[in-house]
């Protein structure tokens, strides 16, 4: 049974499982990896109860590939992993973007690079989420900072992926996935369904309207659609003409760009404060604690990371003289904030970076606000 309205107490990864089921997940394929494993374990138990399919594949490449195959039967699909597995999935993320396959990937970030810190937190996959596969392609990446987010943002990831036919990544991390906390389920949850078509489509399987999103021909419905990772025309068949490729690559990216207002979300506390902290994921709770009772310090929580919410961030930091990015890497979101801050009038951003696997504390944030470095 899907969760009914009420308040629940769960681990972040468990809330993600319930969010996925609430969103209508039908197929999950995954491979064990810390700190995402509870998502696979939870779905192994819960999906069969909901009439869905769970399968443990031989590796992360197979997991995302199976999910892509299942998506073409019209099913809502998901896989979850962490850094090393996320690296293995990159080729297929590009494939899903190229073939416009709706797909949700949860990346529970841990300390990297390589095997890194398997059980401890890191936020080093931000740029990989955007640029990890080759070529120019669109993705949507959301961030989760709390157990409530793990539920809400999982649902939102499905909704956006189904709506825009773009692989959507939920960036959580070891802390957010493993923390336990309360979250509430409202009486009405918005669930988006894929726009499908079931007519013969071999002449125009990828034809699109002004939304730039083609309607989805479902395998087995008589569509006879051809899907390929090669550059293809609106019929779906391989074409290597200059015009066809140019139109395709532009449309795929524009598909996300023109819908930025719908996709991008930031939560701002005290807009207009002279000091604005920008953060996402596990440092968020520390930042919320740090700004309590400090009327001069505001907080920008990024709920969407890619496409980067330029406009929302610019509005939030417009009145600030000091912009501080708090993240658990050597500065990835920082580059984006720096770019936005520069664009709105030469503001400099400062970076509070922490790696090593321990969460940033409120004291560290306050110290950085008041004394810097």
């Amino acid at each position: 049974m899907r969760l009914s309205q009420g308040t629940y107490f769960m681990q972040g990864n468990e809330a993600c499982v319930e969010g996925a089921i609430m969103a209508g997940l039908r197929f999950y394929a995954g491979y064990p990896i810390t700190p995402s494993t509870e998502i696979a374990e939870g779905l192994a138990l819960r999906l069969p109860e909901e009439g869905g399919v769970f399968i443990q594949m031989e590796d992360e490449i197979a997991s995302i590939s199976a999910a892509i195959g299942a998506s073409w039967t019209g099913a809502k699909v998901m896989t979850a992993t962490s850094g090393p597995g996320f690296s293995l999935m990159q080729e297929s993320i590009g494939y899903a973007a190229m073939t416009e396959t709706p797909l949700v990937i949860v990346d529970a970030m841990r300390g990297g690079p390589s095997t890194g810190l398997p059980t401890m937190v890191g936020q080093g996959d931000v740029m990989q989420a955007r640029y990890g596969s080759h070529g120019d392609y669109p993705v949507i990446a959301l961030a989760a900072s709390t157990v409530q987010d793990m539920f809400d943002q999982t649902i939102r990831a499905f909704n956006l992926s189904e709506k825009y036919r773009v692989p959507t990544i939920l960036l959580s991390d070891a802390e957010v996935g493993h923390m336990r906390g309360r979250f509430s389920v409202p009486s009405k949850v918005e669930i988006v369904e894929r726009r499908i078509r079931t007519d013969r489509v071999w002449h125009d399987g990828f034809a699109y309207d002004e939304s730039l999103v083609p309607r989805f021909p479902v395998f087995g419905s008589g569509s006879r659609v051809h899907v390929t990772g090669l550059s293809h025309d609106i019929a779906g068949y391989p074409r290597s003409d200059f015009e066809v490729h140019e139109e395709l690559v532009h449309r795929l990216s524009d598909k996300v760009t023109i819908h930025k207002d719908d996709i991008c979300r930031v939560d701002t506390t005290r807009p207009g404060a002279s000091v604005m902290i920008v953060t996402f994921g596990s440092p968020t709770l520390a930042a919320r604690e740090a700004i309590k009772g400090r009327e001069d310090v505001g907080l920008v929580e990024l709920k969407t990371i890619w496409p980067f919410p330029d406009e929302q961030v610019a509005n939030s930091i417009a009145g600030a003289t000091d912009v501080i990015v708090v993240e658990m890497n050597l500065g990835q979101v920082f580059r984006e904030v720096e770019r936005v801050a520069c664009a709105i009038g030469g503001r400099k951003a400062r970076l509070l970076s922490k790696v090593g696997g321990e969460v940033t504390t409120p004291e560290e944030i306050l110290h950085f606000v008041d004394r810097g470095a």
């Binding site: 031989e58 197979a62 099913a75 395998f219 051809h226 899907v227 391989p238």
Partner: protein, 249 residues
């Protein structure tokens, strides 16, 4: 888009006959392929079809079949997809015994990229990446499929069109993982560097080195030998009825 003397056209012809004979519903069949010459077949079939990344056809096919068991799932693949980059998916799909039919066109070479050695290139053969002769020994893909747990495994050359068509029918009808390997000539990329530039010479070669299983059994050998002893054993190697994955009887 296939070269003169290529065996893929023959495989397609045999497959269409088998498919028609079995009477499968074209609208309920999904064709899956990876990357390479053999994988382009599905672009010539008017049916739901997905041309995946290199090596991943079997993983994608697994997802399709499990998400909608009403669909027939057919995979066309080559020795690069099955034996090298997707080798892990191959043995695991056979072990899992997912209900899909796999047709692997083994041309002993990477044809599309211009003739590099593959995992099935015969020992001592020449290719652009084995200019001094192949120092490695080839995989026997059919033997791997048998060992890993497939329900049906057969191997023929493109010369054996009748037997091949019959085995394809069996593979399509079989519940569980079925695997048909087809030894196929590539005069352009393999033959040219191994003193068989003419299609006719490659067909002669296939005739000389292929030995029917019944005959090799009579010699006291029942191995699924692929060129390790200098021969290709052809025939049907296993037919069993383990319950397919996801379909508890």
């Amino acid at each position: 888009m296939f070269c003169p003397g290529c065996g893929i056209g023959t495989v397609m012809n045999c497959f269409y006959r088998a498919f028609a004979e079995v009477g499968m519903n074209q609208d309920k069949t999904v064709f899956v392929s990876g990357i390479g010459c053999s994988s382009r077949i599905i672009g010539y079939i008017r049916a739901d079809s997905i041309h995946t990344t290199h090596g991943r056809a079997l993983a994608v096919a697994t997802g399709i079949k499990l998400a909608n068991p009403d669909l027939n799932v057919v995979v066309f693949s080559g020795d690069g997809d099955i034996g090298a980059i997707g080798g892990n998916h191959f043995i695991n799909a056979a072990r899992r015994n997912v209900d899909i039919s796999v047709f692997c066109i083994n041309n002993f070479i990477y044809g599309m990229t211009g003739g590099q050695a593959s995992t099935t290139t015969p020992h001592k053969s020449y290719s652009t990446t084995t200019p001094y002769g192949n120092a490695e020994y080839p995989f026997d893909l059919s033997e791997l499929a048998v060992t890993a747990g497939a329900n049906f495994v057969a191997r023929w050359t493109v010369r054996n069109v009748k037997e091949l068509t019959m085995s394809m029918q069996k593979a399509l009808n079989k519940r569980g993982f079925s695997f048909v390997e087809i030894a196929s000539p590539c005069p352009t990329s393999f033959g040219r560097r191994n003193r068989m530039p003419e299609p006719k010479q490659m067909f002669e070669w296939l005739k000389i080195i292929s030995v029917k299983r019944e005959k090799s059994k009579a010699w006291g050998l029942d191995q699924l030998d692929l060129n390790i002893g200098g021969q290709i054993t052809i025939g049907e190697f296993v037919e069993r009825n383990r319950a397919p994955f996801g379909m508890i009887p």
